[in-house]
């Protein structure tokens, strides 16, 4: 039988199942619930994750002592210091150093943020020009920035603006002089800072609310196919019998 007909038949079966709602009694459902294995240590981790990400530092420490649970994500002092170091590096014009630090923190930040990466490279170019390293600047522009410019129109425009710096003897008076301003460094520094925060805030959100939302969603989904005991009140977690 050709695959095509097998698929057709499967779709028909699924459709048939979808039209009639399966009824699951309280007893049957409770048996299913009892069969679920939830590990105490996983629940402890979930609670610890909540305490830490919501900033209940003292409670987290007490919980560690009372339950023996280690913190899952150490998102405190270490990462704040790192982030500040990156920001400072950019503000001082040490862009290469900053890039290295960002990658040490989280290589995905630059990978998933082409615009940020371009701006950092652009800042590097600006610093080279500022320091009078004309040949190096041109080489850098051609090898690193031009390919990015080809992929993206706005990158290209910015690249052209930056390279234009080289055309002027008196950079302080030229139309693209603002690029040499300290404010340009600050702008880039701010962009990096925000990107790091965003990448960290993903881990900064506690997992518990997401799980609760998943429960609401999972029940809504199952409602379409079955009548079963639901939990309608999350804070009391009581099962309510299916309406038959």
């Amino acid at each position: 039988m050709s695959p095509f007909w097998i698929v057709i038949r499967q779709l028909a079966e699924i459709e048939a199942m979808a039209l009639s709602k399966k009824v699951i009694t309280r007893e049957e459902w409770e048996k299913k619930l009892n069969d679920v294995k939830i590990r105490k240590e996983d629940m402890n981790k979930l609670v610890m994750n909540f305490l830490v990400t919501e900033g209940y530092v003292d409670a987290a420490e007490k919980f560690r002592m009372e339950s023996g649970t280690e913190q899952i994500a150490d998102i405190d002092l270490a990462t704040i210091t790192d982030r500040m170091a990156v920001k400072k590096a950019v503000q001082c014009g040490n862009v290469e150093d900053a890039i290295e630090k960002v990658n040490d923190l989280n290589p995905e930040i630059l990978d998933t943020n082409p615009q940020l990466f371009f701006h950092l490279q652009q800042q590097r170019l600006i610093e080279l020009i500022r320091n009078g390293k004309v040949e190096e600047a041109l080489e850098f522009a051609q090898e690193e920035l031009a390919p990015r410019g080809e992929e993206n129109q706005s990158f290209l425009e910015e690249l052209e603006r930056t390279v234009a710096l080289l055309a002027f003897e008196d950079v302080s008076n030229c139309p693209v002089g603002d690029l040499l301003d300290i404010s340009q460094r600050l702008k880039t520094a701010s962009e990096v800072n925000a990107a790091i925060l965003t990448s960290q805030s993903h881990e900064k959100d506690p997992k518990l609310p997401s799980l609760l939302k998943m429960l609401v969603w999972a029940q809504n989904q199952l409602d379409e196919k079955a009548a079963y005991p639901r939990i309608n009140n999350l804070s009391t977690a009581t099962l309510e019998d299916p309406a038959v």
Binding site: D42, G68, E203, S210, M214, L215, A218, L222, L234, S235
Partner: protein
């Protein structure tokens, strides 16, 4: 001219092909071959397309879930009742203190007449017992229980006593006091051998004696913290059940949080079964160790 006998797939018969019809058949064969290739190619393309589609659907699903709104302070409330349920007294006090000093202070409405009395019941005693059991001091735990809740440990054949005796045995093995362990096993564990429900654990406990490095054996799990946790949780539940105001015995076993997680798992599994077991099964363990990207 040599006769050609051609057997072709799908036709299922042999026949002789006179030379005149050979070119026609050749072109027909070429036609079929290219059709097959296209179908195969089309199939491969549709596989990648399907994967992309699935990834897109997962993203859409994730976004729909994120948009769901929850009652205010629900997580806070669930964590609090978790701490109360298992008797993490110090943590609870620290947590409450912090909650009062946030701006605005966290306020949880008393729901459905669930009296806080019910779960603050014997909080300090439960915390003490948990501490003792977690540190392996089973003798002290027995002592305190005899003092505070003698009827729990009166029946030496009860599951609470059973678990405590097993744990004591395990602790003796842990420190290498094997002779003492054997003696203890003979006096306290032997009686459980014949009883259903207890036999497995007793067997595993005794098996610890067989190994030079029991922690590396198949029964090594007994030496882990998790086993102490099981005992501590059981004792905790038993004490909660002695509360005269406790209407719901089920409530002694599972915290609200646990019930919610069970419901989540059961719903996902049921949905998966109804979908012909397609897709990944939900596992809390995986959600915790991955990022926030949970799959259902």
């Amino acid at each position: 001219m040599p006769q050609q006998i051609t057997k072709r797939r799908g036709f299922g018969s042999t026949y002789e092909t006179p030379q005149s019809t050979l070119p026609k058949l050749k072109s027909k064969a070429a036609e079929l071959k290219s059709k097959n290739n296209n179908t195969l190619h089309g199939f491969k393309n549709s596989r990648t397309a399907q994967k992309e589609y699935e990834a897109q659907e997962r993203m859409k699903q994730q976004m729909t879930i994120e948009k769901i709104s929850l009652p205010p302070n629900i997580s806070y409330g669930l964590v609090r009742s978790y701490l109360l349920h298992y008797g993490y007294e110090d943590t609870l006090h620290s947590f409450d203190l912090a909650g009062k000093s946030t701006v605005p202070p966290v306020f949880i409405a008393q729901e459905n007449g669930v009296d806080e009395q019910d779960i603050t019941y014997a909080l300090n005693q439960r915390k003490t017992l948990r501490q003792l059991i977690r540190s392996g001091d089973i003798d002290a735990a027995f002592c305190k229980l005899r003092n505070w809740y003698p009827w729990i440990v009166q029946d030496d054949k009860s599951s609470t006593c059973f678990l405590l005796h097993c744990q004591k045995f395990i602790e003796l093995v842990r420190v290498g006091a094997l002779e003492e362990a054997v003696k203890y096993g003979r006096t306290e564990l032997a009686k459980f051998f014949g009883l259903t429900g207890f036999a497995d654990l007793v067997q595993d406990c005794v098996a610890l004696l067989a190994y030079e490095k029991p922690q590396e054996s198949s029964v090594g799990y007994l030496l882990e913290d998790s086993q102490r946790e099981v005992v501590a949780d059981t004792v905790n539940a038993m004490i909660l059940s002695t509360n005269p105001n406790m209407k719901d015995l089920q409530g002694c076993l599972h915290s609200y949080l646990e019930r919610l997680l069970r419901q989540l798992t059961a719903c996902c599994l049921e949905r998966r079964t109804m979908n012909g077991d397609q897709g990944e099964a939900f596992q809390l363990h995986r959600v915790l160790n991955s990022g926030n990207k949970a799959k259902c």
